[in-house]
Symmetry: C2
Subunit: 224 residues, 2 copies
């Protein structure tokens, strides 16, 4: 345990890519924490107390003080706990890491969501197209082993959703969005990332995730 780290709790669900970002950041910093599994179908009083605004996970509670929004939590972890820096030190590089992480949430995730969780053919086609366009920007941006350079950084953490969740979405739907021939650099990066020891132990197991998303997609069809 890091010295004087205080009491750290993480309210989350194991399968969430946003919760996973926080798990990775905590593990990179060597912080011990208690994971409190939430049931989003029946939200706990603890969740409603600590995140009354959005009522969403992840919520990090450090010495009784709650922080929510995954990227804001990762920056908090960076600033509250010393050692193993997650963000670069140079202001321009920091701005780029934040910019691309926001791009992943606003553009990549929104597009992939549209492609995967819709029954409308036209909408899905649009989602696929927007996903390809967004991933191309990231492919062009990748200039080293990781986005953070030789080590995993803020943008790699934000982008774990692309490396691990998008292939699962593809397997469930049969869509071909993120493939090694379309995005060779990004694909290599994704393999490096998910095989990195810290990431490996942070990712939720694949099989239950596959089953979960199969269920979601089937429920979508059933409610058509």
């Amino acid at each position: 345990m890091a010295e004087n780290q205080g009491e750290v709790k993480l309210l989350g669900v194991r399968g969430s890519p946003f919760v996973c970002r926080v798990v990775i950041a905590l593990k990179l910093k060597g912080i011990e924490y208690e994971f409190i599994e939430e049931n989003l179908g029946n939200k706990s009083d603890l969740l409603l107390k600590y995140n009354p605004i959005h009522k969403k996970v992840p919520v990090l509670v450090h010495n009784e003080k709650p922080v929510s929004e995954s990227l804001i939590i990762v920056e908090y972890i960076e600033e509250a706990f010393k050692g193993n820096p997650i963000l670069p030190t140079e202001p321009y590089q920091r701005a780029l890491a934040r910019f691309w992480s926001k791009f992943i949430d606003d553009k990549v995730f929104a597009a992939v969501r549209k492609a995967v969780f819709t029954l409308d053919e036209v909408e899905r086609e649009k989602g696929v197209e927007e996903s390809l366009e967004a991933l191309q920007f990231l492919e062009n941006e990748l200039k080293s082993k990781f986005f953070g350079g030789d080590e995993i950084g803020f943008l790699d953490i934000a982008a774990t959703i692309i490396a691990y969740w998008v292939p699962i979405f593809q397997e469930v739907t049969g869509l071909q969005i993120f493939t090694s021939d379309k995005f060779p650099k990004l694909y290599n990066w994704s393999q490096e990332l998910i095989n990195h020891p810290i990431i490996k132990e942070s990712l939720p197991p694949r099989e239950p995730l596959l089953a979960f998303f199969k269920g979601r997609i089937e429920a979508l069809s059933a409610s058509k």
Copy 2:
């Protein structure tokens, strides 16, 4: 001019609350900059070069290196230029400032937009309700003269849209969302803010803004 500040350009449009955030941050830091007025109906090659991803303003260009997304630019300005800190130093207070600023963009702005720029009665009613709910969270959060304490900080800069633009939207539409009786603390804050000398000289003139938004609302009705 701050010493060694380098060459600073801001691509923007005068009436934008997002561009205004950057203007305020630059003025608070005492940075000299060249303002390059964009025509969003006919985007310049400069804008397409410096923000090929979103093709939006504001873009800050510091020594030829572009940064976009208003809140990311404000953090960049904070980190690239010393003196007159915009963010608190304590990690938890920094996380809160970031959280509420994101809340303004994701919730307040989205709700106000829905209330103002729609002709659908049900949608507008929902927008008004969501705006009131979101502003109530901010009213509860305000515990000092400014969100930043005695001085203007990150969240005050993010929230300028509420202090200055929302009243203009109200005047144009006749909607009553942000009023002194509904949100007394927030209203007092807004008066302190818009009368602060740095903010005052950063805000675009009111009359052209009123005319602009009247035009937008009328165009909306005409296209019904």
